[in-house]
Symmetry: C2
Subunit: 222 residues, 2 copies
């Protein structure tokens, strides 16, 4: 297969989603850290690749994929699970009802999670410039983001009381897309303590073979 | 196939996306208009069906799909084009790179379009209560929504100068997901005049066989 070049940022949860899936599937990525100090996202070269001026971006031969949700679909669908040769991997599906169930949670991540727990983390941790460069809405208020964050955590708690994983009976890219900023919620001063089912799901997720940590997300506790 | 029950609202662009795809594919839906005056979205029955308290919701036998993006995937993938028996329809794909390209624009619709042109329309047209019930962020400011709206229209103009359709060489659910609130931009006092390629794309879209209008979106001009 063609080499996979990922434009990424160490502190970006959306970039980590892609690195995490790659780790779980044993895929090697060539990582290119974007130079935020020099506003590389708005350089002519980067804008030609992604007019939305956002990371992550995945380049595969002559194909370019933008938006973490699309990149997760592409990788989970093109590659097999570790030790298998069958595609798609178990993180995506050939079944249309299953694909729709996964897309439902990808949309939840782009809406509720982005505006909630992720927004609170950004307000508290990243300077306005870096944030607004990569976000259509600019910094939300901490109050709104916190309210949305807790509302979405209650929804996840409800779901995860009766389901081990979000979309299907196994971990999929739906879990990856939602997991990352929920596991980073503490950086936005949002507590997961009232949501035990969410905390158990995070532990389960970290136990997946191949799991890698990021700044703000530890490895599994053993 | 099982009957398709759609919980919908006449004024909801997200509900219209589903009705529009159904019309283009010749699918019959049983439409159930949600009773917003009595806050039906927060009734125990509705919350049991969709804990996010949002429309549209599609019920197919014992399966329930929430979020317009997921419902579009399900219908476009399960049904054939008019006059064909082959699934998926041309609005979805079996090819993984094509699926990812479509999901990229579904995410654009959930992020940029929702926060931009759609937000401006809501602020100017719908009372705060109805809006916040169906939106994680509550009303954005008109100023932010308008700025995001124009920024996303410029991105669409760039894309549509060199591509007839957003994701692939044919209309897909990516176009449906983005089209609706762009075609409704005038309700948020956002002009499409600076974006001729976007206006041509809207005309092309309206010429698709089976196209249906909604409040604020006329049929094709002939």
């Amino acid at each position: 297969m063609a080499s996979l070049r990922l434009y990424t940022l160490d502190q970006s949860g959306n970039s980590y989603k892609v690195r995490l899936l790659a780790a779980l599937l044993g895929i090697t990525l060539e990582l290119i850290e974007v130079d935020m100090a020099n506003d590389e996202l708005h350089s002519p070269e980067f804008l030609a690749m992604n007019p939305r001026a956002q990371i992550p971006v995945l380049v595969v031969g002559d194909k370019t994929f933008t938006d973490s949700a699309a990149i997760l679909v592409y990788l989970a669908g093109s590659y097999p699970d570790v030790g298998s040769t069958k595609t798609p991997s178990s993180f995506w599906s050939n079944d249309i009802a299953e694909q729709a169930a996964i897309v439902d949670w990808l949309a939840f991540a782009t809406g509720w999670i982005h505006n909630g727990v992720s927004g609170a983390r950004k307000v508290l941790n990243f300077p306005a410039k870096g944030f607004s460069m990569n976000d259509p809405l600019g910094p939300p208020t901490l109050e709104t983001a916190t309210a949305v964050g807790y509302k979405s955590l209650a929804m996840l708690q409800t779901r995860l009381c009766t389901n081990e994983w979000l979309a299907l009976g196994r971990p999929t890219i739906a879990d990856i897309a939602v997991f990352v900023y929920v596991a980073l919620a503490h950086m936005g001063n949002i507590s997961l303590d009232p949501y035990p089912a969410v905390k158990s799901w995070i532990s389960r997720f970290k136990d997946l073979p191949g799991f890698i940590p990021m700044i703000g997300i530890d490895g599994p506790k053993h």
